[in-house]
Symmetry: C2
Subunit: 384 residues, 2 copies
């Protein structure tokens, strides 16, 4: 199996982008990534998107995007895995290049949500859960996160303030990320005074509604030097699944898919959590971010909140986390998020993270999950 | 690159299956295929499905199906490419086994359409075309096929009767396929007297609305003998794309994606059209079936209709085509169709096609396209 490099990255700003279509966003991000790599064509395009069939009433998006890009001699594939769509598209592309099936891959994550009513988006997001047994009850994704938050606080006797800090860190980092959607600085008391959206979960600790697209270009490591000096190697990309229903899991506060994918990734990359300089975790809510830190092995079970309150996830802390704002601050354009995470770690590793640069970051990790962790993708990257 | 075998196949009946859910269908077909292979688990599950986000309001189907199967130690991925979803899922699985990424793969194509109103289905099917430039006009898939039919008849001075024969052959074969949806024998005059659904296209030359699931198990060829004596080798699996808009194509009556994928597949398999004993083409309409025969290289451009009227596609003809009924007769459960095609060719090659058995069939070909051919998958199989 070959070693694989990331030689180009590009993204649109995240936000409510009224004047661009789903295709416009995908093409803009793709052209930026191709330009960053200095390449004009690839062997295959991998699209990550989750909601376009529901929100845009558009399927066959892989054909549509490759046609928009004018790549008539390559092929394209769409991978859908809820909000892990982008991460899984990246994983598939990595494996294809690694195995020698193809040499050059473009991965594009894209989502357009703001044209739809919030109630339609909330409903669409529940399509991630089983319609027959869960979604039909009317519970929302926020409602499921609220359950985890309540159980976590009770089980580990943790204060809501400490958990809310996760969102404070996210907004602080987003405030200096030119591509982020939510750049306002918030304090813990702002989070705890913000509207209840599903008791005890507050508005400011849950993701918003976002449009955006992100793209990366992969090639065999041995070819990467032709394109640029500071490229990034993908040391590992691992996936795992968990039981879909929260009620069927042995421990409702553990994302087994993350735990298993992380174990595989650390083993494959031959590094340990201590070696990670920057991390992007899937903070679709504050509590999801904290559980993710635990399941990735950065702290023990039940210790995530104190890990956060001790400042360890700050930009200058022990483990700078979600350094460009994470899902909460950068925004969470569902199928694009996994690719945004990759780009942000690449920026850190190439020393291009601007005001959010973590000095000397060499190795980074991204974790992208579907819904409440029915599947997970964990990637470990290193600058070469 | 390794050689790859199909060691198990299984499917549900195609039809209006009111008492089974999308999951039920996927699980039933999967268990049959696993049982046929004599295997209990696989490394990875590839799901082909196109419309569940729209018709069932269900995304994240790869997680849902792998969870229903209880495969906690493998991973799953959903591939969506309109009605080529099943074919492309198969293609991805083939490449993964071929490259050594995984050893055992289960491919499941599934679709559930009959719970929805016909108008909803017609609208969902138009999600295959670009919403911004084509779908919003209100044209239907049948309307697009009607355009091709009219232009074809005019350009090549062909009688509608000869084209209608494609559907007659489909129903004749379906009548003896226990899994087929439309088992009624029809005559040319029945086709031409059936209701106009988009002038000049008639009801009996266009696909219906179907539920169904089909599954196959793949493994490295060198392992196949452990499981069964008469396994099938995948000699080639190739994909290609075409311009999405009919109006942008150089020749509206050519599916370039099929043409290019077929060229690649014949080259990879080291066989020619003459070597093919049975073929499954994507007859989403009579005219689509005829154009496909031409673009696969079985006859010249404009000669497809006379190829059919000369009886060459009959079970005892020169090139037995859609021997189990094709999309028209077996039924067209969108994301499952590409996998049904594989199964039916496997039955032929293993001598298990019952009353439709083509004597001595050794090599078969399947062609599965998205919409009007925005992408295509062509597979060539041989019994070992």
């Amino acid at each position: 199996m070959r070693r694989v490099a990331i030689i180009g990255v590009g993204c649109t700003s995240v936000g409510e982008i009224w004047d661009k279509s789903l295709k416009d966003l995908a093409v803009e991000a793709s052209l930026k990534a191709l330009d960053d790599a200095g390449i004009e064509n690839v062997d295959r395009v991998y699209i990550g998107n989750a909601l376009s069939p529901i929100l845009q009433y558009q399927t066959n998006l892989a054909s549509i995007i490759i046609d928009s890009l004018g790549f008539n001699n390559s092929s394209s594939i769409l991978v859908e895995a809820a909000d892990a769509s982008g991460g899984l598209a990246f994983h598939e592309a990595f494996k294809a290049v690694r195995s020698g099936l193809i040499d050059y891959a473009l991965v594009v994550g894209v989502e357009k949500m703001s044209d739809s009513k919030p109630s339609e988006v909330a409903s669409a997001l529940m399509s991630f859960e089983d319609q027959d047994y869960v979604a039909f009850t009317g519970v929302t994704q926020a409602g499921l996160h609220a359950l985890l938050l309540r159980i976590y606080m009770e089980k580990f006797n943790v204060k809501h303030e400490d958990i809310a800090l996760f969102a404070v860190n996210a907004h602080k980092n987003a405030s200096k990320n030119p591509y982020a959607q939510f750049k306002n600085i918030i304090r813990v008391e702002d989070v705890l005074k913000s509207p209840l959206i599903a008791d005890p979960l507050r508005l400011l600790e849950y993701v918003g509604i976002s449009d955006g697209a992100a793209a990366v270009v992969l090639c065999p490591l041995e070819e990467a030097e032709k394109f640029r000096s500071n490229f990034v190697e993908i040391l590992a990309s691992a996936t795992a699944v968990d039981k879909l229903f929260l009620t069927e899991r042995d421990d409702i506060l553990t994302f087994n898919s993350t735990r298993i994918a992380a174990e595989k990734a650390f083993k494959e990359a031959k590094v340990s959590p201590k070696d990670i300089d920057v991390v992007e975790v899937h903070d679709s809510s504050t509590i999801a971010g904290i559980i993710s830190l635990e399941d990735l092995g950065f702290c023990g079970k039940g210790e995530g909140a104190s890990f956060v309150s001790q400042g360890k996830i700050d930009l200058n802390g022990e483990l700078p986390t979600n350094t460009m704002g994470g899902l909460k601050g950068r925004g969470h354009p569902i199928g694009a998020t996994g690719v945004y995470q990759i780009i942000e770690v690449v920026w850190q590793l190439r020393g291009e993270a601007g005001k959010n640069q973590v000095d000397g970051a060499k190795i980074g990790l991204t974790q992208n999950i579907a819904g409440l962790g029915s599947s997970a993708v964990v990637n470990i990257l290193r600058v070469v």
